[in-house]
Symmetry: C3
Subunit: 138 residues, 3 copies
């Protein structure tokens, strides 16, 4: 069994946003040389997410609006976590969007369906944050 | 390390529905001959889900009603994604239900708790769609 | 490839609660001796969760309040599942919080970000329930 590890770094200019990381993750896979296995891709921060959905800007606007309805940022005082922080909503939004994805590797490629794209979801940005890419296989 | 791959195809007659896929996934595992490892089971479409919960029709009715409250299908015009599409709600519902499950394989069997069953969750049906079953182990 | 399996048992004195299981999972990893691989940690019950978030009591109070808003326990009669049961809300809450996490193992350690901690999330407690820890790697 072989393994591979890389960290991808992000610093978004806004509090919230989505970044398509599929090309970067595919580049990690090529670098690893692994042909059959699993790739784990997870946010290393608890106010961010890695998820798979559509790369369509209308949907991303819908996700932003929907997450704000389910776990509104403001007023900050509605959350007990926000004594010294203001990011409780980001912790909740990330529970809906998920921490990680596991993707199959088949024939040296990400084994994705036709519209599946990997995204970094940021809910408390304007600082440097990381995604872990770990691959195991042969 | 050995690996195994299979696609399971579905075409549900309604827009939304849940299908217990545990027997099909267990059959994949037997076919693979793998005794110890992990099985990844994921929707290959971004308007569908693979999840683990109870095989109880009352709960499935509760899930349908609850998801419609959290991410209503109609009016279609409430979502920016619905310019050429009408399925934005399906993309949101699938975020709640999740894309994938990873299940342990122990002694050649799915290592599930007493009531755990795997389901395909369809949120934009009436078309042919796929689930990927990928197994790695020994 | 090596593998390791252990069950962790819990019996919470209340219906709902969160338990930091990071030390127990790290002990499993040390016992396994595995240096590179993946660790799967999943609830074996469909009214419980394993998730990763912050070990901060204000946030845990926010999560409890938020989950009760999204999937209220009472009135029990609002759910079809609650004919012979009273825990439909627990099945829904666990869909938001997730069944499982997969964590990378690098250099014999849980490859976690600075604030990532693993939790057992109980939504229908006061009974003995299990978490599965399964590790594969080398």
């Amino acid at each position: 069994m072989r393994s591979y590890r890389k960290e991808l770094w992000f610093e978004l200019p806004s509090r919230r946003g989505f970044v398509n990381i599929t090309p970067q993750v595919a580049a990690c896979l090529r670098e690893s040389g692994i042909q059959e296995g699993f790739i784990l891709c997870n946010a290393m921060h608890i106010t961010a997410s890695v998820f798979i959905n559509d790369d369509e800007c209308g949907l991303h606007a819908d996700l932003e609006k929907w997450l704000e309805q389910l776990a509104p940022e403001k007023p900050h005082s509605q959350y007990q976590h926000n004594g010294y922080e203001d990011n409780a909503d980001a912790h909740l939004k990330r529970q809906i969007m998920g921490r990680e994805v596991v993707v199959a590797i088949s024939g040296g490629r990400l084994d994705l369906g036709p519209w599946e794209q990997l995204f970094y979801g940021e809910f408390d940005g304007m600082r440097r944050k990381r995604v872990l890419v770990k691959i195991i296989g042969e």
